[in-house]
């Protein structure tokens, strides 16, 4: 069992990096002796993070380690190891159950690494998880959270009103460049997508209703149905949903990143109020752009409906356009416009609110952007229902 004592530690090259591939997998060889009495385990191969990166080698090593549980009779000879780093030391140290075995042969650098691991290996306290009390507290905090949120949102609206007052008092000092930029970003660039979606919805609606209308011989009523539903309801809501998804998320992300990178703090230090420079231009821009986009969407949808009506019911566009003003009183258009302005203001306010509330981490940014869009769309539909109830006597003939 015994052989001569290795006078020197193994002369294998101990170069990190490039040598890792040559060094081979980490391994244990049982039975060989380091000169002293007793059973020794020779530890060899590359005991580095890279050496453990192959799942097969790791499984083999785990089996070898399991076959040599630490005991007083067993000695460990590390001198044939090609490479040894802190991860390797950690594997050994954990296998030795956090104490030095009775017999061990190693060189100075290996001892230094093992010493360091031994010094800093502490029992890891698990992450403090939430207790029942924490859950209760969290539940109880929900009410407070709701109150806080509504208070902050009311504050935001109040600040917006004050800022508009300030703008009216001194229009020459207003943030007009921000306003026109926001107008372009939220309004002009939204035109292609809203037109496309509106057109397709118009076509779909016209085809579906034409099937039913033909059964009753009431083909000409398609003008009334399309006109009323598109101008009064679908156009504004469709446009608002698209803009909430497009511009609402953009506003939240933009303000949120400004918060993460402390740009908001920098602005505040310079005495530039957030409400006046960031919130108000965006809200005003959407208040102006939203009604225009809504009319644009309705128009595109009517064009789509007109085309489908001609194809499906042989109703000519000229008849459609003649019949439209009779079927849809102008008050519907006014209602749609004012409704859209309210949608725009709400979308922008909600987006700004969430942007300002982003915490300085990536997860919060994602969460806030999601809730900004989801809440805007929900609020748009709620407010639309409110309008439908309040103005049920307006615009019908």
């Amino acid at each position: 069992m015994s052989s001569s004592v290795p006078a020197q530690a193994s002369p294998t090259p101990r170069l990190p990096g490039a040598a890792a591939q040559r060094a081979g997998a980490p391994r244990l060889d049982a039975g060989a002796a380091a000169g002293e009495a007793g059973t020794w385990v020779r530890v060899g191969g590359g005991w580095t993070a890279l050496g453990f990166s192959s799942a097969r080698d790791w499984r083999a090593l785990s089996e070898m380690l399991a076959a040599h549980p630490p005991s007083d009779a067993l000695g460990w000879d590390l001198r044939e190891m090609a490479q040894f780093d802190h991860i390797g030391a950690q594997v050994l140290w954990n296998h030795w159950q956090h104490r030095w075995p009775a017999h061990v042969a190693l060189d100075t650098s290996q001892q230094a690494v093992l010493d360091q691991v031994a010094q800093f290996s502490v029992p890891v306290a698990p992450a403090p998880g939430p207790t029942l009390l924490d859950h209760l507290r969290h539940f109880a905090g929900q009410g407070q959270h709701l109150v806080d949120t509504s208070r902050r949102f009311t504050q935001l609206i109040g600040q917006f009103v004050l800022d508009v007052g300030r703008l009216l008092a001194a229009p020459h000092r207003g943030p007009w460049r921000d306003l026109s930029g926001a107008l372009y970003n939220t309004g002009a660039t939204a035109m292609p997508i809203t037109a496309l979606v509106g057109l397709l919805i118009g076509v779909v609606l016209a085809y579906l209703t034409s099937q039913q209308l033909r059964q009753y011989g009431a083909e000409s009523f398609i003008v009334n149905i399309l006109g009323l539903s598109l101008v009064r309801e679908l156009g504004p809501v469709l446009a608002a949903v698209l803009v909430a998804g497009r511009s609402g998320s953009a506003i939240t992300a933009q303000i949120g990143v400004m918060r993460v990178t402390e740009e908001l703090d920098a602005m505040r230090v310079m005495g530039i109020p957030h409400g006046f420079r960031l919130v108000m231009p965006r809200v005003l821009a959407l208040a102006v752009a939203m009604p225009l986009i809504s009319i644009w969407t309705s128009a595109a949808a009517l064009v789509g409906g007109m085309m489908a009506a001609q194809l499906a019911l042989d109703i000519s566009p000229s008849y459609f356009l003649q019949a439209l003003p009779r079927a849809v009183p102008i008050s519907n258009v006014i209602l749609a416009l004012s409704k859209s302005a309210v949608f725009g203001i709400l979308i922008a306010l909600i987006a700004c609110y969430h942007g300002m509330r982003v915490l300085p981490n990536t997860e919060s940014l994602g969460q806030r952007t999601t809730s900004s869009v989801v809440i805007s769309i929900t609020v748009v539909i709620l407010v639309d229902a409110l309008f439908a109830v309040l103005f049920k006597g307006v615009g019908f003939r």
């Binding site: 530690a9 101990r14 993070a49 890279l50 790791w58 001198r79 991860i87 100075t108 690494v113 300085p360």
Partner: protein
């Protein structure tokens, strides 16, 4: 327990002669419409194993760009960069096991706590058991001078110095033989910077790392580096020890080191730590 048998590891010289990083005839050109900006022109630089090399240069001389090219994050316009004899693009596959990087602002993953940040690269191997990874991350955490109770904090709750330490621990987790540091002491108070230097010197000695460092802090520069490379006129104008570099006649160097701050720091200049023989690991 009996005394462990301790032998002394072979004191390898300069290893097998291979350098850690070799940069040959490197050109970096930033193109913007209607304008070309040449940052590096025929730049040559060799970084030997086991040394601490500091990159010094004025603002906009492309020090950070050079680090990013060593990491393979950016491709040079012309010329070649090799890290341990391989192209840097090949490095990213083997990942954190070969190169550790300390970014200027830490670049910690803000969605993870400190321990998960440090353990990330090990966990991505998807081989080692979770308990071992946690232990290893805990050891790193304490090696850089943090306490175990900091492990569960989120990066947003850390101070600037602690972010640097966590980022260093994360760069060290795989015991990568090459460590790149971008402004390691910027934004630290003098005491914190000193501690950080001590920490880096200790790690360099114990692990036999090759360290490449970009720094503007002259104290750190004289304290840690075994060699200094000066970037000016779009290339490395001189590399050598602190004394050699200071003696080099070039207007930038004279201004940089002979200014008031440079004088004060140079007075405190003591013999920099000798490049440790790359001991066996």
């Amino acid at each position: 327990m009996t005394e462990p048998i301790v032998t002394h590891g072979p004191a390898g010289g300069e290893g097998d002669g291979a350098n850690a990083v070799e940069i040959r005839k490197l050109w970096t050109v930033f193109k913007s419409p209607g304008r070309e900006q040449v940052v590096h022109r025929d730049l040559d630089l060799t970084i030997r194993r086991g040394e601490v090399l500091s990159l010094v240069g004025g603002s906009g001389t492309g020090k950070t760009v050079l680090l990013r090219q060593i990491l393979g994050l950016e491709k040079p316009t012309r010329g070649e960069v090799s890290v341990f004899g391989e192209a840097p693009a090949a490095l990213s596959a083997a990942g954190a096991a070969k190169v550790g990087m300390l970014f200027q602002r830490g670049a910690l993953f803000s969605a993870f706590n400190v321990l998960d940040n440090i353990a990330f690269a090990l966990r991505e191997l998807k081989v080692l058991p979770d308990a071992l990874i946690r232990d290893a991350a805990m050891v790193r955490l304490q090696m850089v001078g943090l306490k175990p109770e900091h492990a569960w904090k989120m990066p947003s709750a850390l101070s600037g110095g602690m972010i640097k330490r966590v980022a260093l621990a994360r760069a060290l987790i795989m015991d990568a033989p090459l460590l790149l540091l971008d402004e390691p002491t910027a934004g630290l108070d003098p005491e914190g910077a000193d501690e950080f230097c001590d920490l880096l010197r200790g790690l360099h000695r114990e692990l036999g790392l090759t360290v490449v460092m970009v720094t503007h802090d002259l104290d750190t520069l004289f304290d840690l580096s075994t060699r200094i490379a000066v970037l000016a006129d779009q290339k490395v104008i001189v590399t050598g020890t602190a004394e050699e570099v200071i003696a080099y006649p070039h207007p930038f160097i004279q201004q940089y080191f002979q200014g008031g701050r440079g004088q004060r720091a140079a007075q405190a200049l003591h013999a920099p730590p000798a490049a440790p023989a790359p001991t066996g690991r």
